[in-house]
């Protein structure tokens, strides 16, 4: 028997081809054909066959289902007697199996302004939540000094290890190269005025006050902020945080405090280290490509900055460190309870962390200018 549709008496014969994983069979066309024949003729029933040597699969079932649905509406009977027994069994199951009521609405259409509005609202909520988290965290900090905070000292040293020593290479490389870039960039412009020696000033001043704290914090946001969010998010998924709470441990003291302390202790040191590497990068360019004397560059550097500049950068590092830790922990603790939520939390920790660093840098600049620091 050939695949296709024929009318025998007042019965429509639908012969299904062998469709196993091949595109040679146009299911839609066969179905349209059959439906059109049912419409156009005085059909009393539809009888299904398999083409010679053909096997059936889900596609055959879908075709039968599609045709018979329309046929039933018109009061036309389906006859599966020539089909293998499995076909009628499976079709019967698909009709009888109790189905849960699906109520999920489809994806709503995208509206630029709505999306924008939602993002603004969400951003504002983030700011509020993070601020109140910061307040809670500082309370926990207070409990640390009254000796009431419960946390594990061993955790603290572990976090210090992970944020400090283990970050040295990446922070070093980034800051060395930033010193190099700053020196090159400055040299091109300062050459126009014959003031190339001020490259040393630019590097020392710019790096210690702005670049080193900001870029170090950004590196740490990507490294440590994300790690904190992922750690706490995973604990959330595992119900570990619930378990802490039921034993009366405050997640703030137990989890956030040591992480915040570790970054608050390490960031100032990292910034000092970043200062040194950045200036060293500038020195390499100054001495080896701009041909300044070794001592000349050093003296120029010494004259360009004083302790205030260094402390200003270090203090910013401290603030950024606390921001990164708080945002990372907040995102982790408010993470959803499945694996993809942990990924989202880590992403949010990095994005919000970097945003906070840049906003804080801007605020610092305004304040420093106003106060003449």
């Amino acid at each position: 028997m050939e695949a296709g549709t024929t009318i025998v008496g007042n019965i429509l014969h639908v012969v299904l081809p062998d469709s196993q994983f091949s595109n040679s069979f146009d299911a839609a066309a066969l179905k349209a054909d059959a439906v059109q024949l049912i419409d156009a003729n005085e059909i009393k029933g539809v009888k299904y066959f398999l083409a010679d040597g053909a096997a059936w699969n889900s596609q055959s079932l879908a075709v039968i289902n599609g045709i018979s649905k329309i046929a039933t509406k018109k009061g036309v009977q389906s006859d599966l007697s020539e089909m293998p027994l499995g076909v009628s069994k499976i079709l019967a199951l698909s009709k009888s199996a109790a189905s849960d009521v699906a109520t999920k609405s489809g994806p709503s259409s995208f509206n630029l302004f709505e999306a924008l509005g939602e993002q603004v609202i969400e951003a504002w909520r983030d700011v509020k939540e993070t601020s109140s988290f910061l307040v809670d965290a500082s309370r926990s900090f207070g409990r640390l000094f009254t000796g009431k905070a419960q946390y594990q000292r061993s955790d603290l040293s572990l976090f210090i290890q992970a944020t400090g020593p283990q970050a040295l290479i990446i922070v070093g490389v980034v800051n060395l190269l930033l010193g190099v870039i700053l020196a090159f960039m400055g040299a091109v412009q300062l050459k126009l005025f014959g003031a190339e020696i001020f490259v040393a000033d630019l590097v020392a001043f710019g790096h210690t006050r702005e670049i080193a704290p900001m870029m170090t914090a950004i590196v740490i946001a990507g490294r440590t902020g994300a790690a904190y969010a992922a750690q706490l998010g995973t604990m959330q998924v595992n119900e570990e945080i619930d378990a802490l709470k039921t034993f009366g441990f405050s997640p703030m003291d137990f989890l956030v405090l040591p992480r915040m302390l570790a970054l608050a202790l390490m960031m100032p040191l990292l910034v000092l280290y970043a200062d040194a590497l950045g200036i060293f990068g500038g020195y390499l360019i100054g001495v080896y490509t701009l041909d300044f004397g070794h001592m000349q560059y050093i003296v120029q550097t010494q004259n360009s900055i004083d302790l205030t500049d260094i402390l200003y950068g270090v203090f910013k590092g401290l603030v950024f460190g606390i921001l990164v830790a708080v945002i990372g922990c907040k995102e982790g603790l408010s993470s959803g309870r499945d694996a993809s939520a942990v990924g989202d939390a880590a992403t949010k920790a990095v994005v919000n962390g970097i945003l906070a660093i840049i906003v804080a840098t801007a605020i610092f600049s305004v304040l420093a200018t106003a106060l003449g620091i």
Partner: protein, 254 residues
């Protein structure tokens, strides 16, 4: 029944996430020393109910009484103190993954007791041996199987000798033998410690093997639709859904 045989009393409690109501007007008592089963279809709010009883989530209305203490009306520090009297075994075990099994059990002991380190080591070893994990002190949660995690979680839940133990689906994800072992352990603990036990489960074998009484929360009706002795509920189910649940038969059929 006098108050003194009641360990926990749930009165007119409504639970909701935001505006989304999960269950309305729950009313039941858990008696001292019994194994009380919380049943219901999935998504009906069984875990949520447990969270309300152990202090993780505040009811949107109604009360949770422990003996005569209104749990959610009490101050946070009173609540913390009260919660030291119960132990919780979470669905996934919820062992603290950065600590060894010994440290997991020792942490509450170190925090809330004045025992010496030596005593704590001995207590930890005892608790681990109670759940058949003697010698596993130095293992991290990631190094043991799912069934062992649950048992270790149970050892930790018992760290402070609780009067009430809560279990969220203890046998979910366990093979039949481990599940049976856990059931036996639960009964022995009840008999040995005289603890009150509240269990969320839909494992029929467990329900009939260990349950004294239970409540059924219905996801569609959003309220409790059955309460009483497990045997009574099975023999004379108050409604078709409970009959279906406890007898594994379609409603209407026999």
């Amino acid at each position: 029944m006098t108050t003194s045989d009641t360990a926990i009393s749930i009165q007119n409690m409504t639970m909701a996430y935001g505006d989304f109501v999960i269950q309305r007007d729950l009313n039941f008592d858990i008696r001292k020393g019994e194994i009380f089963i919380i049943m219901g279809d999935s998504g009906s709010g069984k875990s949520t109910l447990l969270k309300h009883m152990i202090g993780l989530k505040r009811p949107s209305s109604g009360t949770v009484l422990y003996d005569d203490m209104d749990f959610w009306a009490a101050s946070e520090s009173e609540r913390k103190l009260a919660s030291r009297r119960f132990g919780v075994l979470y669905q996934s075990g919820a062992l603290w993954s950065v600590m060894t099994l010994a440290e997991n059990i020792a942490l509450p002991l170190r925090t809330y007791t004045d025992y010496s380190e030596k005593d704590i080591t001995d207590i930890v070893a005892l608790k681990l041996s109670l759940v058949g994990l003697a010698g596993f002190e130095g293992f991290y949660p990631s190094e043991i199987s799912g069934g062992m995690k649950k048992r270790a979680g149970l050892a930790r839940a018992m760290a402070l000798d609780p009067e009430i133990l809560f279990f969220d689906e203890p046998s979910a994800g366990l093979d039949p033998i481990s599940a049976k072992r856990l059931d036996d352990l639960i009964i022995e603990l009840r008999d040995g410690l005289g603890a009150t036990i509240a269990i969320v489960t839909h494992e029929l074998a467990s329900i009939f093997a260990i349950g004294d009484r239970g409540v059924f929360v219905d996801a569609d009706a959003k309220k409790q639709t059955a309460l009483g002795k497990i045997d009574d509920l099975r023999n004379a189910p108050p409604n078709a859904k409970v009959a279906e649940f406890l007898n594994r038969s379609a409603p209407g059929s026999t």
